[in-house]
């Protein structure tokens, strides 16, 4: 089950992307993008958009990202 978009752990994912490990190929590439955006700084609007995109990614790929959901959200 993908946590609700309001779960604070989504923000941790965006704010500390390099603290996690990821299994799904698309997630690894997506998190590389998050890492770069975090490195160069984001506006509040960009950050919110990124959060929405990450949440949508997990919803769309729910059947494939089980191990990553477990790793990130327990």
């Amino acid at each position: 089950m993908v946590p609700n978009r309001t779960d604070a752990r989504w923000e941790q994912l965006v704010d500390s992307p390099e603290s996690g490990t990821y299994q799904f190929l698309a997630l690894r590439i997506l998190m590389q993008r998050v890492t770069l955006k975090h490195k160069f700084g984001m506006s509040a609007a960009e950050r919110a958009e990124l959060l929405d995109e990450i949440h949508a990614f997990f919803v769309k790929n729910e059947r494939l990202v089980g191990p990553d959901l477990q790793s990130i959200f327990g």
Partner: protein
Amino acid sequence: MAGKIQTVEETIAMINEGRRLLLAADDSVLARLPAGTWVGGTIPYFMGAEGGVTSREVVYVDELPAQVTDVRIVTYGPDDLHLIPTDEFSNGFSVVIVPATSDVHMRYAAEAPEFSGIFNQPLVGWVAGSHLDDVGTAVPRVYAGPNAEASSTRAVVLHASLPDGALAVVDIVNLFTQGDGPTLTFDSPGFTQSKVFVDGVAHTFAEYLTSIGHDTRLPLVADYFGTGINVSIQSVDVDTGEVAFFAPVFVGVEYKLAAPVGDYVAEFERRLHEGTVAPAFACNCILNYVYSELEGKKTGDIVGPITFGEIAYQLLNQTLVYLEIV
């Protein structure tokens, strides 16, 4: 069902039967095919069941899995590529082919990682090319089957839908890993670089690679959370200091020069035993084909076109990309 190498006549028959196909062949061959439900790209190199094949006369054919319930074939110009995710089916996969050296190829390579929704559905594909003897003279092209229409300036995408309960999964096999050398970074993105920062110190890139005697068959490798992402070296010009690549480097990404790979075929088999996967589509890089002398040799039981670039969401180099239906 694994793809296979076929004659033009066999392929025409399949098209006329209404079968849904992903095709790769020399331009002279693709130009002979009738309209139908297919997409194609130009290339005369293939990995077949008996090993690597170079031919200007045959067609590599992947038939879409029987589970595919609907197909949508769309072409995109350089300014439309960001729409690819919006045209995808809610459950399915997409296969994109772009013509090498075109603006649409350059733009996809540079911009795809930033497309909204690009990671939401499985997206694989490849860069259409030509015989290596014809590079610079032949024009790579892609084909949209519904009108058997060829283009050297547009990308073609086949969007496929799957029923509930079926999933497509994309994965890659990259035998290159980061070597033990210094970290390389760049202060501007692009397919060419004159300056490189070696552990933070600026150097002229061509001079640097020459000074260390780098084997240019070995790519730059970035580590995306455990997945190696390659940038292959196209040329090193010591007069201009410029190094050209087959994919862009990005600012903020840390690269290292790859460690050597010994026996590509043996290493490939070690990484992906025969029978491990049954791809609906796969492609491998022309550089792997040439550098590892894959003509006549097999890469396990993985077959498919040998391409001028591979796509697993974003452009990759010197990588095998495959898509499975699970």
